[in-house]
Amino acid sequence: MKSTFRIGGVHPHDNKQYSVHQPITECGLPAKAIIPLAQHIGAPAQAVVEKGQKVKVGELIAKAGGFVSANIHSPFSGTITKIDTTIDAWGMKMPAIFMDVEGDEWLESIDRSTTLVKELCNLEPKAIIEKVQEAGIVGLGGACFPTHVKLMPPPGKVAEVLIVNGVECEPYLTCDHQLMLEKGEEIIIGIQLLMRALNIHKAIIGIEANKPDAIEKMSTLASRVLGIEVKPLKLKYPQGGEKQLIDACIRRQVPSGALPIEVGAVVDNVATIYAVYEAVQKNKPLISRVMTVTGKSVAKPGNYDVRFGTPLTDVVAMAGGVPENTGKVICGGPMMGRAMNSIDMPANKRVSGLLFLPEAESMRQELTNCVRCGKCVNACPMGLEPWLLSKQAWHSMWEEMEDHNIMDCIECGCCQFTCPSHLPLLDYVRMGKAKVGGIIRARQAANK
């Protein structure tokens, strides 16, 4: 009996057939690159290079702007041309380093070979965390939360189990699946490193049932290591959500407003763990990630290893260019990803996929009256009432919304996905969440 999370959820068609099992291909080097300095949650990184300076691949070019922030290393070798602002894939203006790419010269300290480094280096937990922090690793599942912060539980909280997110519940995306198939051994070593860093003896890898080959491969590898277990999960969206995955794997529900460490869990994505392996065992900072370029009409859908700063147009060119009938380009998956108005921007740690939707699937349907069917209530994985929240947002009833736990919403989109009246439920909930969040912060500031 495969387990899953206990409240709500929906079953969108996974549409992974386009890019599944496409081997990870390296994307070529561009002539010019723009490296945004805010590729993570938290303060933007501060540039530590100057105009005209020559850098090598892997050299630190921007230092973390605080504890909750991440270092950025040069993904290319070349000359810094300017430090200015750019529009990133999220449509936000932000500081960035511009550079001309010259050759591909790496720092000598980085082990570029593909040989597996099995022997766990004799590092103390603290040293492992320092290396993770130094390498600028952030959660590559989508949120881009700096990983080293998660590895240091606040005083009084104890980590008991590491939960590895191999779910990839977003339809279309296949990068994590392919990574598990190609880099399974490395991921297992990465898990052991994190277990040592957290001083725990148990790790669970959650993988959804639509990836039977990944389940088989990871199970075989995990069976050779004490304490690591693979948990096949029933197919249901949003299982890759942190709280849902914890519930599915260890039957504990993170209380409202709390972090996973409250129930003794630390969750990391397989791609993040692969980055940890590379950072600790190979001394290689986070300078690239695997992203899926896919869609019904994409000529060569696949999984591409892209260095940050590469123009997305280059990546799309590798996949056969923008399809003729494209109506929408989505950064990430179709449930939570963002629609972009242009692909003329650099890749960064956040871009886990590029999805091209044909024009026919890009427009929302005409909306009708709410028929009070209650399907949104049954779909909500947080046990909220989206119909009520969206009505309250419409009427600016912020206090009532707070009372109805709006801040618990994870914006997974299940409510809007399932609504037979095609109501923009999440649009209203998101608006209300922003408003209520602002009110709560103002109140906390006033109480200080």
Binding site: I7, V10, E160, P171, K202, K243, D247, R251, R252, Q253, V254, P255, S256, A258, V322, K328, V329, I330, P334, M335, M336, G337, R338, A339, M340, L355, E359, E361, S362, M363, R364, Q365, T368, N369, C370, V371, R372, C373, G374, V377, N378, C380, P381, M382, G383, L384, E385, W387, L388, H404, N405, D408, G413, F417, C419, P420, S421, P424, L426, R430
Partner: protein, 334 residues
């Protein structure tokens, strides 16, 4: 190249629509309808046709000339209301009474509140109850099933099983013989309104709706469980006349009258039922209790319509029950 379309997530939809749900309910009613036509002949066909046509026509007229809005007849909700109204009527009802019922259902119960999604009470049931109170004679003369031999205007009529049961429970031992066998009731060969026949096929239609995720099990199951429990307890308490066992009484309570139709198709109407699962269960229990109270002690032999309408009025209250939020439970061990 054309500019890309930009909108907030999600960019994916299940493909569900109001029209699709209505269509599935209509499909689920079809097997039972076929049996009704076999049982009541032309009367069944004519009553249904008039009811559906009148409901759709009134909705179209009201949206076009009174509300001056875009027509909503394409969402099939008026068709479904017409079909359900017909299911609640005797098959020999004069056509003009059917039209009045449709006018009350669509005009008063639905469009007055603002159309689909806004009404407090189930439109088809409001139409039926209006007719029941206004035309008690015509609305309680139930044709006996004779197939197409039944003529529409003057069909042979007889007591329904519920009439007989009520009289029997109230002490008229002679009526015991008039109560049909459980098997006949399941198959549906008995007097009654169009949709009361064939409990088995209505049940099958309801299960189809649960499987296709149009409805959830909470309302029908809680209604039927309450009714069965109530019947068993009254039977055990000695209310029943001699010669009638508790088991038969429970079976009859579940399969006769509008029980199946009401539990699976009328009470589960989206607009007039609660949203949360807990609300749905309370809603169902309420209907079950009220219907059995009416059947046992009330003046009417059948109480399903009244029970559902009374509980419809409680829905805004029941919607205040919050579903179980994520993270409310204590943590378990690994």
């Amino acid at each position: 190249m054309k500019p890309f379309i930009v909108s907030p997530a999600p960019h994916f939809h299940s493909g569900d629509s109001v029209r699709k749900n209505m269509l599935l309910v209509i499909i689920a009613l079809m097997p039972a309808y076929v049996v009704s036509v076999m049982a009541f002949g032309w009367g069944a066909l004519i009553t249904t046709a008039i009811s559906i046509a009148a409901c759709v026509l009134f909705e179209w007229l009201i949206t076009k000339y009174l509300l001056k809005q875009k027509s909503t007849i394409c969402d099939l909700s008026a068709v479904l209301t017409g079909l359900l109204l017909a299911f609640n009527l005797p098959s020999n009802l004069p056509w003009w009474i059917v039209v009045i019922g449709a006018l009350v259902a669509i005009g008063v119960a639905k469009m007055t509140f603002g159309g689909l999604g806004q009404n407090l009470f189930n439109p088809a049931l409001v139409g039926r109850v209006f007719l029941l109170i206004s035309f008690p004679a015509q609305m309680t003369s139930w044709p006996v099933p004779q197939g197409f031999a039944t003529s529409y205007v003057d069909a042979a009529t007889g007591a329904t099983p519920l009439d007989a049961m009520k009289l029997a429970v109230q002490g008229n031992g002679a009526m015991l013989d008039k109560i049909p066998q459980a098997w006949d009731i399941l198959i549906g060969w008995m007097g009654g309104s169009l949709g009361e026949v064939s409990a088995l096929l209505l049940l099958a239609g309801g299960v189809f709706l649960v499987i296709t995720r149009v409805i959830t099990w909470h309302i029908p199951v809680s209604i039927m469980a309450t009714v069965a429990l109530f019947a068993a307890v009254t039977g055990w308490a000695g209310v029943l006349p001699e010669g009638m066992c508790t088991c038969d009484y429970t079976m009859l309570s579940l399969c006769t009258g509008g029980m199946m139709l009401g539990a699976w198709f009328m009470a589960t109407d989206y607009v007039t039922s609660p949203m949360s699962n807990m609300g749905k269960i309370i809603f169902g229990i309420g209907i079950g209790v009220i219907v059995m109270v009416i059947r046992t002690w009330g003046a009417y032999p059948e109480g399903m319509s009244f029970a559902i309408l009374i509980m419809n009025a409680c829905v805004p209250l029941l919607n205040m029950i919050r579903p179980k939020r994520f993270g409310e439970k204590k943590k378990s061990s690994i």
